[in-house]
Amino acid sequence: MVKGLKIQHKIYLGLMFLFLYAPIFVLVLYSFNASEAMGRWTGFTLKWYRELFRSDVIKNAFYYTIICAIISTIVSTVFGTVAAIGIYYHKKRVQDYVLNVNYLPVINPDIVTAVSLMLLYISVGIQRGFTTMVLAHIMFSTPYVILSVLPRLQAMDPHLIDAAQDLGATQLQAVRKVIIPEIMPGIIAGMLIAFTMSIDDFVISYFNTSGGVTNLSIEIFNMAKRRIRPTVNALATLMVAVIVMFVFIINRIGSKKKMEYRLKEDEK
């Protein structure tokens, strides 16, 4: 498969992938095991999946995870893009101040960010729940959107907007019709980061929600803390399946796009 590599290199890569994938394989395998005791195979079953689908806790957590990710992704993408455009047109000194603060949630350990927000909610007297969790997600995703949009703005030809305005566009029209399309790849990258970070977040959500509002990470943590249960394996298997499907689709779209570009090149 891997041409041009020495045999020991292939073995090393193989071992690396074994290390990365063996645990996932074990998870998937034991989700179909009849016995609850992990490590002993006693026959094929789907009962853990049935148990999973019957569990209201999991359904709830799933629902909150998705809704929270959708809301926080939309808000932080729009908010971050708008802020990045604003930052770009300010003086260097203002830029530096804003970006330094913007970096805080990026470099601070998650647990410190989480605790600081928790203290804010407690001090102001806001009951922690779904809203506080969404606000927290917007807070930690927006900086990443800004960091992925800003380089695109800096790479943009500054004369574009002048040209648009010379041709009679108002400032906001220039933003909408010239800048936004120009920085679209940065916006999309930022959006993807925001979405995956929200879906994956554990620490910040854990500290900033209460009252029966949880997400999948928190539920997995709570279940794993108590006892190893095959229902967690079933959940893991489903999540792995979704991710693999997602990657497969993206790859297909990617290779289709590549083909289209190639064909266009050929026509020329």
């Binding site: 802020a83 203002v94 350990p109 991710i243």
Partner: protein
Amino acid sequence: MNRTIKALLYPYVVWIAMMIVVPFFLIFFYSITQSRPDSPAIFRFTLQHYREFFKTENINILSKSVILAVETTILCLVLGYPAAWIISKTNVNIQNMILLLFILPMWINMLLRTYAWQVILSRTGLLYTDTAVVIGMVYNFIPFMVLPIYTAITKIDKSLIEAANDLGASSKEAFLKVVFPLSMPGVITGIVMVFLPAVSSFAIPRLLGGGQYVLIGNLIEKQFYLLNNWNFGSAVSVILMILILISMRFMRKSGEISGRGGAILW
């Protein structure tokens, strides 16, 4: 021009003031005050929480966290560097495929990946030991090491290696004197990106170290969830922040640091 466009920034300034700056100062405030148990609004300034941190048991927790994080970082570097180097040498057509395979496990929820190790380690008898915690952290964070190193190696101008070879360097010498030094920025980024989450992690030690296992992250969590001692918890958070600032400053001297997480993956 551009007054309207400049105004686009102002809502975000208000937002970060509220959600980043104020909470940041709240941690400091809580860490140096103590309020009366009956009326939280009455408080006095004190350094008792910091004094409490410097008790032996807490210092032991801190040094254990640092030692495990350093071990994790070294293991990630030793295992990850060769992997990054080999990937960079593969055929371009399948390089992206291999990279994708490397990143793919990261898209699976971190807690599930840790749970998987709970399952495996419970059968080997290693569960609830230091080794288990280090294995879990290496597994979770090794892509953070491999990806920046890989990026740094692919950026190296190939003609430099050819020049070294032409001048009589063996491939081993060329690696040691050209490739490795030029990949240092990637190594530094990798070290920071592994050390940072490793030293502050609390889910991995909790799940693989067991309920009694306390690293600095668990110490903070306990103050907020179990003991309701927010003031001491805040003091520990401040110390963790300072520790990380110092280690970043230390690393920054030897190379540039790019942002954590996402950016490199997309």
